[in-house]
């Protein structure tokens, strides 16, 4: 089996696309730990971009570097065409971001917290605060203290805070972290409202189902290294998953694993799950038949983002 766990898939043509975020050779080292290694990323205006990876992959560190909270060890970041080391605020004032669990002053109400941020940003009216509270559905609880909010409400307030300055880029780092299914759905329902023609969303998440539903393009990172970056549809149609039932699965697995064009073979209950290039099901059948192994069932399985993710990351979950 060819070990193709690392792959760089390049997206389609960039002609006519406005690149608002570009990282070149971006790296960050914390002592001996290399959290991000030589990351090259481009983000186009108007897209919803998913940045995926297991825990400790370097997602939050990358976001921290983009937002100027963490100094890169090497590499460059260009935001709206401006290099961050020189023109930080000029670029960052066009960005709204929530990193991991939103953090606000617990003794202030939701509205007062947004007012505190508005004063720090400058030029934000009370009408704008009311508007963003309504957008995230918090207008009725706006006067309540932040520490009385549920986790879902806190996340929504965090999203509201990103909208105060009408940002062109919204960065959400794990926006559904720690939420129950209802809370996750609340946040997921907000995401399409955030992305529109002139606004771009950079979404870090390990909730792959959500990412698959809302993102146009994703990058997958593991241990600081980018493994793949492509539109969702390309990732999901790059190959094919076959579900095969045979009398002797162990022998069949051994045979298929030895074939260089087979990406991966694994056992799942009584079935062999085989990851193959597109339109190669007949070759699998022929390979097994050469060894007098005949499949009693052979079916194509839907490729999900989760299966692509697990294949690329070597099975490490995002949870």
């Amino acid at each position: 089996m060819t070990n193709q766990t690392t792959k760089e898939l390049h997206s389609g043509s960039e002609e006519g696309n406005d690149i608002i975020l570009r990282t070149t050779g971006l790296s960050k080292r914390f002592g001996k730990l290399e959290a991000v290694k030589d990351l090259n990323l481009e983000l186009r205006r108007g897209e919803v971009f998913g940045f995926l990876g297991p825990n400790g992959a370097g997602k939050s560190t990358t976001v921290g570097m983009i937002l100027g909270l963490i100094a890169p060890t090497a590499g460059n970041i260009e935001l709206f065409g401006l290099k961050l080391n020189g023109n930080q605020w000029a670029a960052l004032r066009r960005v709204g971001a929530v990193i991991e669990e939103p953090a606000f002053y617990p003794y202030l109400s939701g509205r007062d917290n947004l007012e505190a941020l508005a004063r720090a940003i400058g030029g934000i009216s009370r009408a704008k605060i009311a508007e963003v509270l309504e957008l995230v559905g918090l207008q009725e609880r706006a006067a309540d203290r932040y520490d009385h909010y549920s986790l879902g409400m806190k996340q929504r307030l965090g999203i509201a805070s990103t909208l105060l300055r009408d940002p062109e880029l919204i960065i959400l780092d794990e926006p559904a972290s720690g939420l129950d299914p209802a809370g996750t759905k609340e946040v997921r329902n907000l995401l399409p409202k955030l992305a529109h023609e002139s606004r771009t969303v950079f979404l870090c998440s390990h909730l792959l189902h959500e990412v698959e539903l809302v993102c146009d393009r994703v990058a997958i990172i593991k241990q600081g290294v980018m493994l793949a970056c492509a539109p969702i549809h390309e990732l999901l149609t790059q190959g094919q998953m076959l579900q095969i039932k045979v009398d002797d699965p162990a022998q069949a697995a051994a045979i298929l694993s030895g074939l260089p064009w087979i990406k991966s073979v694994k056992m799942e209950n009584d079935y062999l799950i085989v990851d193959i290039p597109k339109e190669s099901a007949s070759r699998v059948n022929a390979a097994l038949a050469e060894h007098n192994i005949f499949a009693s069932e052979l079916a194509s399985r839907n490729v999900s983002l989760e299966s692509v993710f697990l294949q690329l990351t070597g099975g490490e979950s995002g949870d």
Binding site: S60, G64, L67, L69, A71, W89, I99, A103, A120, S161
Partner: protein
């Protein structure tokens, strides 16, 4: 937080006055100890302002350290530091705003403290049956107290900046409060040993904070033997000259604030 600290300050001053009143009233024999007379003088109107300023330079330092360390440190405790930095034009501007805000609150607290002291002095004068005589309030007296107000603010600054620095170093309110206040109290112990050691070691306290604070607060002209050098200054150590004191405290303040701003500007802000 600021309201709580203000309440604590007012309460401390009020309670102190009432305690002193109670002590002065306990027994006044015809030839009682001179300290009783001094205490009675403390409660009087002419000494109200200097006494209040003296309290502010001691208790006030503690409260000011708590204020600034909490103001900065809680941003880390609550993790709002990232939220605020994302929304701020620069880190230094954010930190500068916090420092200036704390400075304004400290000034307000000092004014409230002085006003409280004056009101309590009026009350104790009335309770003591003395006449309200404001003839002491000459232009020279008021100008002297105005200068002492700013000297008191000046001596608070190094401790405030110490708490500020340690809150940033420790990324939390607790190191700022603990070390800022701890050093305030520990200096007395340390300088006592240094003074007893003699030789060049005995001269070191003259370059530490407390002795120099004492040199400036002593300009407040409180009655002899009544010192509010609570924590800090060790009576055994020599008091440096006033100019030496101003310069030494200025150097400490500059070092603390420079290191604090440098660290805040350079360090990564992670989860």
């Amino acid at each position: 937080m600021t309201r709580v600290l203000l309440f604590v300050l007012v309460s401390i001053i009020a309670i102190l006055y009432l305690l002193l009143l109670a002590v002065s009233k306990v027994t006044i024999p015809a030839h009682g100890p001179p300290e009783i007379g001094a205490i009675q003088n403390l409660l009087g109107l002419p000494v109200a302002l200097p006494f209040a300023l003296s309290i502010l330079s001691s208790f006030g330092s503690v409260l000011a350290v708590i204020l600034i360390a909490s103001s900065v440190g809680n941003e880390y405790n609550w993790r709002t530091i990232r939220t605020m930095l994302i929304c701020s034009e620069s880190r230094l501007r954010l930190l500068g705003a916090k420092l200036i805000s704390a400075g304004i609150f400290i000034l307000i607290g000092m004014v409230v403290g002085i006003a409280t002291g004056f009101v309590m002095s009026l009350i104790t004068t009335a309770i003591g049956g003395y006449a309200f005589d404001f003839s002491f309030a000459t232009g020279g007296y008021l100008w002297g107290q105005f200068l002492q107000f700013w000297r008191t603010f000046y001596v608070l600054i190094p401790y405030v900046l110490l708490g500020f620095l340690f809150a940033i170093v420790g990324r939390s309110a607790m190191p700022g409060i603990a070390l800022g206040i701890g050093i305030f109290f520990l200096e007395s112990i340390v300088t006592t040993f240094m003074s007893l050691a003699g030789g060049w070691v005995a001269k070191i306290p003259g370059y530490l904070l407390a002795a120099n604070v004492r040199a400036i607060t002593a300009l407040g002209n409180l009655p002899q033997n009544i010192g509010m050098g609570f924590g800090g200054a060790n009576p055994l150590s020599q008091t440096p000259g006033v100019t030496h004191a101003f310069v030494t405290l200025a150097i400490y303040s500059l070092v603390f604030i420079t290191v604090a701003f440098y660290l805040f500007h350079k360090r990564d802000v992670t989860g």
